[in-house]
């Protein structure tokens, strides 16, 4: 589903943010990316949804080589990818419903269908009772669930999450992790960048550790218990 071949990316004049990355993530996998701040987690995720292009190497997502995609084709790629952020990136002047419906509006769905599908996902996220509230009035955990609903409402093939639990308490973290797992069970490939060790230990999924733009360690799902030092 995701393949990176010899990918190097440097921001202007700075040392490479990613250096010679080779990585394969299969369809339906659940992967954690970890590492200290500045290790390149966010840069790697941004590469995957076409917000950045590498200086060298190839990035293949869902069979498409992002490095050779035209700019106008990037939106089409993003329609099969859901993205979630630490700061949620919600539209605060709009309601919960409108924030989620936007994904389907972009796809050109009819109004009635948008209504049904949006309420369905809000129900799954246990936030359907607050559908007509402005998102500003929600708690952090609720806002993240709205962001997740927006990312998952069109059943994306890939879900990318950048520090999704950074602003949440333990109860909310667990709830968000369960949503990721459910999406994964339904067939979505999930990539979560986090340095939340508890979240990683709790989930026992494949782990990729980055340091200064390089992959320094990979722990497969089966071997997770053998890993002592994450």
């Amino acid at each position: 589903m995701i393949q990176l071949h010899d990918v190097t990316l440097a921001y202007q004049q700075e040392a490479a943010a990613l250096h010679n990355i080779n990585l394969k993530i299969g369809k339906g996998e659940f992967v954690f990316l970890t590492g200290t701040s500045g290790a390149g987690k966010t840069t790697l995720l941004r590469l995957l949804y076409g917000a950045l292009t590498p200086n060298s190497g190839e990035v293949l997502v869902d069979g498409q080589n992002i490095t050779s995609l035209k700019r106008s084709q990037i939106p089409l790629l993003r329609r099969s990818i859901g993205v979630v952020f630490q700061d949620f990136k919600l539209l605060h002047s709009r309601t919960v419903f409108e924030n989620v419906a936007i994904t389907l509006e972009v796809l050109g769905w009819g109004r009635r269908d948008i209504g049904k599908k949006t309420m369905h996902i809000l129900k799954q996220m246990e936030i359907d009772s607050k559908y007509d509230l402005i998102t500003e009035r929600l708690s952090g955990g609720e806002q993240q669930r709205v962001a997740l609903a927006r990312a998952l409402v069109n059943d994306p093939k890939i879900l990318l999450a950048d520090e999704p639990t950074g602003n949440l308490d333990d109860a909310n973290k667990n709830q968000i992790l369960n949503i990721f797992k459910e999406a994964n069970i339904r067939g979505t490939t999930v990539v979560v960048a986090t340095h939340d060790r508890r979240l990683i230990e709790q989930s026992h999924m494949r782990l990729i550790t980055l340091n200064k733009g390089e992959i320094v360690e990979q722990v497969e799902k089966e071997n997770f218990r053998d890993c002592q030092d994450i």
Binding site: Y49, A51, R71, S72, I74, P75, L76, L77, R78, R79, I81, V83, K89, L90, L91, S93, R94, I102, T103, E105, V106, L107, G108, W109, G110, R111, D113, K116, K117, R150, D155, I185, R186, G187
Partner: protein, 322 residues
């Protein structure tokens, strides 16, 4: 029938992608328009600021235009005084009159030809010397010349054209003396050129200032909503899909701004300017300023719409990164 169909397999996707709204004719346009209107309702303050700026900017331009248009029509009236007179020592016979009239009228730039007889000339002389009629005692019409007064087209009132006509008049056999108030025509023309230059300069500066202010206001309002642009691009919206509601919003803002500015201009005109014609024409008998002609009004409306649209278009280019 519902477009939603459940798949039979268990863990696979529950829903199939339904019919696109864009499959229906006009669906997208309706969607973008609805989105633009709801955006305006959700961002009332920002929209009010933009519409207010466009209104004020266009009001300044339209006030300038109103004054300029009236000044120009006043000048047009003055320029009617530019005329050429051909003098004759003798009274012309009816045949001579019509022959000269025909030859003069055939010249390009001649608007009207009027024959002034000796008696008519004396009458005018008397009117001009009213109160001092004693000066004219013993003066008889025979000592006055007869003449043709030639009014010129508005396009032939500049010094060069007048001189050109004078030269051609002198070439007509039988015409020896031609007068046209050379000094007055020269001064009038330099005043006219000065006024046009001043108008173009002031108008140019105003238009540049208006474009600068309005485009920056729109840029700021779009900057304040850059999160929205980012979210739209994250969920896979194309550049067109993100831009369309903003562009429609710009169109609506421009139209609203120009309509408001015209309404305000009309209010100001009704309240203050309608009877203020004497300030501009220096003529106390002037009937007052006239409102902007229809072509100027439609021009202002179009400029407002264009300002809103192009302002949004250039700002969006900067903030959308797909």
């Amino acid at each position: 029938m519902s477009k939603w169909k459940k798949k039979t397999s268990g863990t696979a996707r529950i829903y199939r992608r339904p019919t696109l709204e864009s499959d229906v004719f006009g669906g997208r346009v309706g969607f973008f328009l609805t989105r633009a209107i709801s955006n305006i309702r959700q961002n009332v303050f920002v929209n009010a600021v933009t519409i207010g700026t466009i209104t004020l900017a266009l009001l300044i331009v339209s006030l300038f235009l109103l004054i300029f248009v009236n000044l120009e029509s006043a000048v047009e009236n003055w320029s009617e005084r530019v005329q050429v007179t051909v003098y004759f020592d003798k009274e012309l016979t009816g045949q001579e009159q019509s022959s000269f009239r025909e030859k003069i009228s055939a010249l390009s730039g001649v608007l009207r030809v009027n024959y002034v007889t000796r008696d008519e000339a004396l009458k005018r002389f008397k009117v001009r010397l009213r109160g001092q009629e004693t000066l004219l005692e013993g003066v008889r019409s025979e000592i006055l010349p007869t003449s043709f007064e030639i009014a010129l087209n508005s396009t032939h009132r500049e010094t060069d054209s007048v001189e050109n006509i004078v030269t051609k008049l002198k070439q007509i056999q039988g015409i020896t003396e031609v007068q046209y108030g050379e000094e007055w025509v020269r001064r009038f023309n330099s005043f006219l050129n000065f006024m046009r230059l001043l108008g173009a300069l002031l108008g140019g500066f105003l238009v540049i200032a208006v474009i600068f202010i309005v485009s920056n206001t729109i840029k700021l309002t779009i900057y304040s909503r850059r999160d929205e642009l980012e979210v739209m691009s994250l969920v896979g919206a194309t550049r067109f899909f993100i831009s369309a509601p903003f562009l429609l919003e710009g169109l609506i803002q421009g139209l609203a701004g120009s309509l408001l500015s015209l309404a305000l201009l009309y209010g100001i005109y009704e309240a203050f300017l309608q009877n203020a014609g004497s300030f501009i024409t220096f003529d106390p008998a002037a009937s007052g300023l006239s409102f902007l002609p229809v072509e100027y009004i439609s021009g202002l409306l179009l400029s407002g719409v264009l300002l809103g649209f192009v302002g949004s278009l250039t700002s969006l280019k900067r903030f959308i990164n797909v």
